[in-house]
């Protein structure tokens, strides 16, 4: 047998109160695309951070062998030096810098005493061609969509002569087109001899691209499956990940036909002065009690902007149009007013504007509704602890304690904290923006089940999602948004992937 490109042996890593990895071993053969799957908090990101030197040698136990040699990385640059490159779960580009600056940041091309910009731009252009990204290298990264930013990240990794490329949930923020693009690119790289480890929660992608799959659960390796031996199927993966069979991840529910309109929006137009154009034009829709309304569309179609403009308009768009909550014409000058009127908005970007990462789980959960646990403005500590523990249990948030800082939780568990926070505000209308981004199958099922319970109790849910199966599996009614306009309304009976995609690409 040939020596594997990478071998990790008996890796154990502990954080205060958590055994994130417990005697994990796994091997990656040269030229493979090797997927790493597992529930939220299983330890996937931690394992990759050990491999890339984020957690230096000595802070974990076990051995890393790369190309047969024992490696003791103390820093990221040491792992880069042998040809390991990692792209993190959260993108790490500098938004204000240009594409070419970003590609070579920390790795500048110098001509003796200063940066050689001509050479930099030339090489950057080559790298961009390599990842089939057709943009001007001089544009600022913040002007690119997430999908393109992702490709810039890969170009950056490739500029360092990589042998092993690690991608931590690269597709969680991408639309279907960009995902297909990315997977194609990975196949191309494989042909050039680049080995790849990819973490993902989207099993569809695993089926499509993986040569081998390793499943982690609770910090332990469960198994490694070989796709070419026909061992990889969605059912098998789910079973190994969750430890039980899940047959239908979209739990059944009676579609409710209520006539009580709780939210109605008419001729809603929003002008964004920072981009200098209307980002929403003439949007009309309504939400009835006990309904789950799906907002489908491509990434960047204006659905988040719509949600924010309704939710107290924190971005300060200039708005024309009318909004009726429970039949009454209303206007929310501030998110506070929207919350008092019974709205809640679970943001798509939990790090940026969903959570306070430096605070603990408990403080995050109670933040939007502190008055409920305060007497004359003084917080009742016992009540706060009780509330936080209640949501920790009901949402099954994996954390050693509610006093854990949220930044120490795995991505999926952070999402649950964000959801808990808004459930505690006890809304009538819950807006969920990409509610299951970065969430494992088991947790998805949990969240869907909770959504069903909520609507059964009379809550109405607006679910913005770019995942068509989710839209089709959960909605009672669907609006399709494209370029800031509603291009169609579909009752669930008439909706198919094709009909939605057709409307989503109409503008």
């Amino acid at each position: 047998m040939t020596v594997p490109l990478l071998e990790m042996r008996n890796i154990t890593k502990e954080f205060p109160g958590v055994k994130a990895l417990d005697d994990v071993s796994f091997q990656v053969a040269k030229g493979d695309i090797h997927c790493l799957v597992g529930e939220n908090g299983a330890g996937k990101s931690t394992l990759m951070k050990i491999l890339s030197g984020v957690y230096p040698h000595g802070k974990y136990s076990g051995d890393i062998l790369f190309e047969g040699n024992v490696q003791k990385f103390k820093t990221i640059s040491e792992s880069e030096a042998v040809g390991i490159s990692i792209i993190y779960q959260e993108l790490a580009l500098v938004p204000e810098m240009t594409v070419y600056e970003n590609i070579f940041v920390g790795n500048e091309i110098s001509n003796g005493f200063s940066i050689d910009w001509n050479e930099t731009i030339k090489r950057a252009t080559e790298m961009l061609a390599n990842v089939q990204l057709d943009v001007n290298p001089a544009v600022q990264v913040k002007d690119l969509g997430v999908g393109k930013q992702q490709l810039v990240e890969i170009a950056k990794a490739l500029s360092k002569d990589v042998k092993l490329l690690i991608l931590d949930e690269p597709t969680s923020a991408l639309n279907e087109h960009d995902v297909a693009n990315l997977l194609g690119l990975l196949r191309g790289l494989k042909e050039q001899g680049v080995t790849c480890i990819m973490i993902t929660h989207k099993l569809q992608e695993v089926m499509e691209i993986a040569d081998k799959v390793t499943v982690l659960r609770d910090g332990k390796t469960i198994c490694t499956l070989d796709a070419h031996a026909g061992e990889v199927s969605e059912q098998a993966l789910i079973k190994h990940m969750v430890g039980r069979e899940i047959n239908n991840i979209y739990p059944k529910r009676e579609h409710i036909r209520s006539d009580e309109v709780v939210l109605e929006v008419k001729n809603w137009t929003a002008y964004d002065s920072t981009v200098g154009r209307d980002i929403l034009s003439d949007v009309d829709f309504n939400v009835k009690r006990g309904e789950i309304i799906g907002f489908a569309g491509l990434m960047g179609s204006g659905r988040t902007e719509l949600a924010l403009s309704l939710f107290g308009n924190p971005e300060g768009y200039k708005i024309k149009g009318e909004m009726f909550v429970n039949g009454r014409l209303t206007h929310f000058p501030h998110p506070q007013d929207a919350i008092s009127a019974g709205l809640a908005y679970v943001s798509e970007d939990r790090k940026q504007n969903g959570l306070i990462l430096i605070q603990d789980v408990m403080q995050n959960i109670t933040l939007a509704n502190l008055h409920a646990i305060a007497k004359r403005s003084v917080i009742d500590e016992n009540a706060e602890i009780a509330i936080a523990n209640k949501y920790r249990e009901s949402l099954n948030i994996k954390t050693p304690s509610i006093e854990q800082t949220v930044s120490n939780l795995s991505g999926g568990n952070q999402q649950k904290v964000s959801l808990a926070k808004w459930l505690f505000s006890n809304p009538d209308i819950l807006i969920l923006d990409e509610p299951t981004r970065g969430i494992d199958v088991g947790a998805k099922l949990e969240i869907y089940t909770i959504m069903n319970q909520l609507v059964e109790n009379g809550m109405s849910i607006i679910m913005i999602s770019s995942e068509l199966p989710e839209i089709l599996g959960m909605s009672d009614r669907i609006y399709v948004v494209s370029s800031g306009e509603i291009t169609g309304e579909l009752p669930i009976e008439d909706a198919t992937q094709e009909s939605i995609m057709h409307l989503a690409t109409r503008n």
Partner: protein
């Protein structure tokens, strides 16, 4: 030895919290040796606490300002200016002192809203807005003291704030000591121990992480010894001064509000992530106004304490207070990245800054070197913040 291991672990985990105590301890030990004990004499410690008073109140306010990711450079001269206004009101306009003090505090609050407005509404960087205010107040002090120069304050009640001590109860035991101070000290220790024990019990009931028994005992003993030692030293001189009483009240209120109330939680949320706070229904503008407003009020209090201490308003009052206040906040563990920092820490920070000044004065070190040392301490405190932030 598990104890030593535990101890090292706890120290490492909480270095931000305990670092300032270590710094204070080291500074006192060094000065005690270099001044052959004069530094830790009752008289000097008593003076030191009074000097730390007007920095401590500024530091407390500054902590909240830095927590919400801003800065206020104007507090020093604002304090000087408001002290001068107080002196004028009493000496020239003959306003009674019980009107002057609340009026000045209110004026401070209102003046604080001005940078609040510029920062929250106009989106001007706090650094620039308060730098402008810094110059304006500097000019204003010169304007109001132009004809008179130093304004002498002759109101006894006002002057007692910065120089007087609480009365004693004559019960005949320990004639050399200030008995009321000792009694208050004992009560404070009892309260502290009771509070900590209660907190530990609740934490254990909820299965939260608590200090191991021996470390917890050590911590209690250390703090009790600190309070006890301080009380003993003060009781051997004139007892507790009014300044210290005022500072303790201010810190007590601030500590309660910042950790236990809704507005306190909102302030820290805004500091931790303003976008998320806004979307959670917190009005970031209002919080910004409130925090700058309270800073103005504390600057007024600081001005009163200082004028009272000197029994006069001078043309240079307030010079470099902002540096000491910012340094006190950073030594006290506030983070430049926002969202982190306790107001109680600023008091220790203020003690550190006042100790440096006092100790260097005792040793006869020239003012030029004193500036350098204070600047160096500020830089060191921020370096410490950055270096320990990711724990």
């Amino acid at each position: 030895m598990t104890f030593i291991k535990d101890f090292q672990h706890v120290l490492k985990q909480n270095i931000r919290e305990y670092g300032m105590f270590i710094a204070l301890f080291v500074i006192w030990a060094v000065f005690a040796v270099l001044t052959e004990g004069i530094f830790i004499s009752s008289r000097n410690i008593s003076n030191l606490l009074n000097q730390a008073g007007y920095i401590a109140v500024l530091g407390v306010g500054m902590t909240l300002i830095i927590v919400i990711r801003h800065i206020d450079l104007s507090v020093g001269f604002m304090a000087g200016f408001l002290g001068a206004v107080a002196a004028i009101a009493m000496s020239f306009w003959n306003w009674p002192v019980y009107i002057v003090i609340p009026a000045i505090l209110l004026l401070g609050l209102l003046l604080g809203f001005i940078p609040g407005f510029l920062v929250a509404q106009m989106k001007i960087p706090a650094f620039v807005a308060t730098l402008a205010a810094f110059l304006i107040y500097r000019g204003a002090i010169l304007v109001v003291t132009e004809g008179t120069g130093t304004i002498i304050i002759s109101n006894d009640f006002f002057n007692a704030i910065g120089n007087g001590f609480i009365p004693d109860i004559p019960i005949g035991i320990l004639p050399e000591m200030h008995v009321l101070t000792l009694i208050l000290g004992i009560i404070a220790i009892a309260f502290y121990i009771w509070g900590e024990l209660k907190a530990r019990k609740t934490k254990r009931a909820y299965n939260f992480e608590v200090l191991s028994r021996s470390i917890f005992g050590l911590k209690l003993a250390f703090v009790a010894a600190l309070i006890g030692g301080m009380t003993w030293v003060l009781a051997g001189y004139n007892g507790l001064s009014w300044t210290v009483v005022i500072v303790l009240i201010v810190v007590g209120i601030y500590s309660f509000v910042s950790t236990r109330t809704v507005i306190g939680r909102h302030i820290y949320a805004v500091g931790g992530n303003p976008e998320a706070a806004e979307l959670s229904g917190i009005n970031v503008k209002k919080i910004t106004y409130a925090v700058f407003g309270q800073m103005g009020m504390l600057a007024a209090l600081s001005g009163i304490l200082f004028a009272s201490r000197l029994q006069s308003a001078t043309t240079t009052a307030g010079t470099l207070f902002e540096l000491d206040a910012i340094a006190a906040a950073f030594v006290g563990g506030v983070s430049a990245a926002g969202g982190v920092g306790k107001v109680t820490g600023a008091v220790i920070g203020a003690l550190v800054m006042a100790s440096l000044t006092s100790g260097m004065n005792l040793m006869g070190i020239g003012i030029s070197y004193q500036y350098m040392v204070r600047g160096g301490v500020l830089a060191a405190a921020v370096i410490f913040d950055v270096a320990t932030r990711n724990r």
